[in-house]
Amino acid sequence: MLKEFFLVALISISMGGYAQEIVLENSSGDSYSVEIESEKSFSGVIESIKEYVAVVENSSDQSKEEAAADSNSFSMYVSDNGIKIKAVATYKGAPRDYDKPLTDSDRADIFFIVTSLANSNLIKLGTLKSSLENAGDRLDPVHTLQFLAYIFSQEELKAAMQNLQTRDFVWKKFIGGVANSLTEDDTCSNVFCHAQDFATKVGVSIDLISPKLKACQWEDLVKVLIKNIPRQGNTARYDQ
């Protein structure tokens, strides 16, 4: 099972001092202070935060210790707001298993998420928010390429994806989630190695998707799938 936790670092930089104080705040709202030498390079600062997080979190929670031991990524989102920088650190555990088959529950969750996002109006989506989040959480162990392969093997979901792409607000949320998961999988070198099998499953040429996979262009990858995987049957039957 993939383990992850987020740590938000609010870095307050003292412009004139020798050392700079960084306040780290985890997802539970607990804060830790750490002193960083002002001469340290940016990558050095990141490394210090990473080490400190591992020590503090490992000492407080056994499961997080295990997660941190398997840690293989540290991503930082920076927004410059005066003298404050906000950073998010993500640690991951074991990689998702591409070969693990989907359960009926996984299929139902995927169907629910995609058809709801594609077809429900915004008011209904508001009422479904918690159900969608729960379904998303249940799908967390599912490999993202498995998730996409199921979508693009089902006619109803293929149609839904075309609608979803036209709904800007919902699309950004959906594709953001898919991209994050693919980034996590890619960090464990767990994406490109499955490209050939994935291409065979969804029925597209490997040449179409491999450039997107190599370049980590996840949104473009999904758009390529939507565009190039044909729907079956006479979809224009009622054009009269």
């Binding site: 077809n119 109006n121 006619e155 149609a159 979809t235 224009a236 009622y238 054009d239 009269q240």
Partner: protein, 266 residues
């Protein structure tokens, strides 16, 4: 140009002398009923096209009074036959002939407020908002290749305005406009020999209607009855939506027509 301005001013001046302020003391309630005739053109993105003449009946009840709240309800039932041609065929063969029975049904309620000038031409402006239900049925018959029934059904929010001005004793003209915002649009498909009845989702839609009412009261001293002819233009747009197993193609309906109504004021 000066001469034209002079004519317009002179018209309103003499009109103000002729028109009596009884316009302001009109009864607040108007009951109207009459036939409605229109030419309908239906175009789908795949290339099919249908057109035909529709006849129906429209009835209104309006409570409208100067500087008072306005409320009104209206209903329409209309029926006609459409003819046309199907979508272009990939093999280049002749397009299929289409023929269908068309039905429009609508009921709507509105609430607004009336602003009106005290003096001739008694210009009146009534913005309103409302809610309604619409049902549009297109049932294909021979020689259409696929005998299937499309019933587009939706509730909608509407907003718009009514306006009028007295232009001569006994004559009133106006401009009405309304916008309809349908929600939860569905096209129920039935009678398909190969697929069980099902509901197609429809993409984003908007609809509007512009009316030019011309009202005449032949008995200037008796306000109980008036007669109205109202040319109008209406457009209904339905967006494309991918469905399983079949898609809903983008559909545009344009309507040109007029209605004749007897208005009873009480």
């Amino acid at each position: 140009m000066k001469f034209l301005s002079f004519l317009i001013c002179a018209f309103f001046f003499f009109n103000s002398l002729l028109a009596k302020p009884r316009e302001l003391s009109l009864p607040a309630n108007i009951l109207a009923i009459g036939p409605e005739f229109y030419h309908l053109e239906r175009t789908r993105s795949g290339g099919s096209f249908q057109h035909g003449e529709i006849i129906g009946v429209r009835a209104n009840y309006d409570h409208i009074k100067r500087y008072k709240f306005y409320w009104g309800v209206q209903g329409l039932y209309a029926y006609g036959i459409l003819n046309g041609e199907g979508a272009k065929r990939k093999d280049g063969s002749k397009r299929a002939k289409l023929r269908s029975q068309w039905t429009d049904e609508m009921i709507e309620g509105n609430l607004g407020y009336t602003f009106q000038c005290k003096n001739s031409p008694y210009f009146s402006f009534t913005p309103y908002a409302g809610y309604g239900y619409f049902r549009e049925v297109n049932k294909f018959i021979s020689p259409s290749p696929l005998h299937v029934k499309f019933a587009t059904v939706f509730d909608y929010f509407t907003c718009g305005f009514l306006s009028s001005a007295v232009v001569a004793p006994g004559w009133k003209v106006g401009l009405n406009a309304r916008y309809r915002e349908p929600y939860d649009l569905k096209c129920k498909i039935s009678d398909d020999p190969e697929i069980d009845d099902w509901n197609q989702r429809i993409g984003p839609s908007f609809q509007y209607r512009i009316e030019l009412p011309i009202v005449y009261n032949p008995y200037f001293e008796c306000w109980s009855f008036e007669f109205q002819i109202m040319p109008f233009y209406e457009q209904r747009n339905y967006g494309e939506w991918k469905n399983y197993p079949c898609d809903y193609p983008e559909t545009k309906i344009e309507i040109y027509g007029f209605n004749l109504q007897v208005l009873y004021l009480f």
